[in-house]
Symmetry: C2
Amino acid sequence: MHPYLLLTSSLIAIARLLGQPALAQVSEEAPLTVGARTVPVPDTVSPRLRQLIARKYVNGGTPQTPEGWRALVATASSAEVARVPSLKAQFDVEVEPKLIAGVHCFIVTPRVIPARHRDRLLVHVHGGAYVLFPGVAATPEAIIMAGVSHTRVISIDYRMPPDFPYPAAMDDAMAVWKVVVTQQKPKNIAIFGTSTGGGMTLAMVQRAKEENLPLPGAIAPGTPWSDLTKTGDSYFVNESIDNILGAYEPFLAAAANLYANGRDLKDPHLSPVNGEFKGFPPTILTTGTRDLFLSNTVRVHRKLREANVIAELEVFEGQSHADYIIDATTPESKEAFEEIAKFFDTHLGR
Amino acid sequence: MHPYLLLTSSLIAIARLLGQPALAQVSEEAPLTVGARTVPVPDTVSPRLRQLIARKYVNGGTPQTPEGWRALVATASSAEVARVPSLKAQFDVEVEPKLIAGVHCFIVTPRVIPARHRDRLLVHVHGGAYVLFPGVAATPEAIIMAGVSHTRVISIDYRMPPDFPYPAAMDDAMAVWKVVVTQQKPKNIAIFGTSTGGGMTLAMVQRAKEENLPLPGAIAPGTPWSDLTKTGDSYFVNESIDNILGAYEPFLAAAANLYANGRDLKDPHLSPVNGEFKGFPPTILTTGTRDLFLSNTVRVHRKLREANVIAELEVFEGQSHADYIIDATTPESKEAFEEIAKFFDTHLGR
C-alpha cells in the first residue's frame, strides 16, 4: 500500500483520539480534477486488438429528426450488412429469415451441430442503442455465437424507433420468447446480446418473472446498457477513453430518449439495473477495462451476486465498448465467445 | 452501438473492396490524448464508500535512503497498528504471535468457529509494496477475513527490504507453507492477500508447483501486484483516478526496485503475471473500477481462464486500490470478504 494509506490511517487515528470522525471533514461532493494526459496503446493485448485500440473515436453525429435517424440507420445497416458474407464463411453458418409470432427473426444454423447441442437454442437480441441495426444488420453477433458454440441461434429483429419506441422492442422479444419456450425446454435455452441487446436480455428475464413465464437456463448480457441515465462511475472515468462510444452525450442520451418516448429512463423496464435480480438464471457478463459501460456491467454483476445468482464476470484488458464483436478476428474476440459457449455448456439443460 | 462503429465498418468495407486492410492506415503507436476534466463522486456506492472516494490522493513521499524507508515504515506501521484494537473488537477475534519455521507469524482465531471450519486454515500474506507493514501492522486484513469467514488465519510477517530484499519475503512465505501443509490437508488450506500480498499469493502457488509442493485448495489474490513493471493499461488509464496509489511513479517504481534488488522486474518470481497458471487451484480475484491495478487483476484472471482454472472476478464500482480493506465499515468491504468466504466454503476441502 501507498503512504496515502498511512496518512489517512493516521488522520483516522488522530480523529478517534479527538472523538471525531475524520472523514466528515471532507466534502462528499467535491469532484476529482484530472489534468490532460496521453494514454499509450497497451502492449498487453494481441497485435490486432492493439490496432482497434489505436483508432480514434469518430463522432458520427446525432440526428435531430426522424428522417435524420432513418438516414443514420440506413448507413449503419449497410456497413454491418457488408460484414455478413465473410462472417458466414468464417463461422460456417447459414442464415434464414423467419417470422415467429409475427416478429421478424433470423435462424442462424451452424453447418456442424454436435448431438449434445441439438436440443439447445440460443436467443439473440442485437445491440445498436435501440435504434440501429434492423434486418440482416442484426445478425453479426448471432453468427459469431452460432459458429463458436455450434448451437442454433434465433436472432430477433425487433421493432425500433423512430417509428416504434418502447415498448415495441420488448413486446417483440417477449412474443418470440413465449413461442420458443413451447418448442424447446426453457432450461435448454439461453438469451444473449451485447449493449442494448445485453440490457434487453436482463429486461426480458425480469419481464418473464413478472409475467410468470418460464426463465431461460442461462443468459449472457455483454456490456449491457443496464442504466439509460448517465449513472455509473465509468460513464465519467472512461469518457474519451472508450473509442467506440466516446461519451454519454449527445448520442446515447438522444437514443435513450428516442427509445423511452417520454417514459422515465430510470424505469426498470428501460434500465434493468434498477430491477429485481432474485431468481435469475446463471449469468455471464463481458466487458473491457476501457468500456464506457464498465460500471453498467459490474453494477449488474454485484446485484446478481447479492441475489445469490451464479454470475461470472469477464473483463478484457484495454477493450472499449463491445470490441469483442466489432472485430471477430482478434484472439480476444474468440476467447470472449468461447467463455460464453463454455458457460452455456455448463449451465444449460440438454 | 455508436455511429463510430458504422464509420469504421464502412472504412473496412471500402478497404476490402480496394483489397487493402483498413486498419493498417492507423499508427499503432499513437497515444490517446485526453483533455483535463472533472470526475464526480459516484452515487452508485454506499454513503461511506462515497466518503472514501471523495478523498484526495496524498503523496506521502518516496524515500531515497534505507533510513528514509525505515522512517516511513515506522510511521505507516503505527497508523495500521492503531486500527487493530477496534478491528479485533469488530470481528471478535484473538491475535497471537507465533514462530513457524523460524518466521514471525500471527495466529488470528475467531471466537466462534463452526464445526465445518475447524479443519480449515487460511494463510495470509499482507500488502504494503513489499516494504510496509511489518509486525502487528500486517494483521488488519487477516483479522477481517478471520472474522467474516469464521476460520483460523495464519498471517505471515515476512522479512522485507531495505534489510531483506527478494527472495527473503518469498523464502519466508514458502517456509511457512512447507510447515502448514504437514499440519492440515493442503486442500483444506487457502492462501489470500491484497496488493503485494496478492502478488505473493500467486508467486507462492507458482513456486509450490516448481518445487513439487502441495498446492492450496483455493486462493484469493486481491488486486494483486502481479506486474512490477509499468505494464498494463490501468497503470495509465487510472493514473490520478485511483486516490490510494495515485500513479506508478515514483513510489511503486522505487518500492519495486528496492524489493528486486537488481533482479529483472519481469522475472515471474517477482511479476507472477509472467508465470505459468496451469494447474492453479480455484481462484477469486477482487478489484475496483478505479483501481490502478485493475489491469494487474484482469490480466491474471484471463491467464487463469486460458489455463482452464476456475477463476472468479469481482470488480467493485468506483473503488480505488484495496478500498475494501482500507475501511472495514463499508457494506462493500463486507460484501468483498463475504464473496471470498463463500468461495472458500465452496472450494476448500473439509
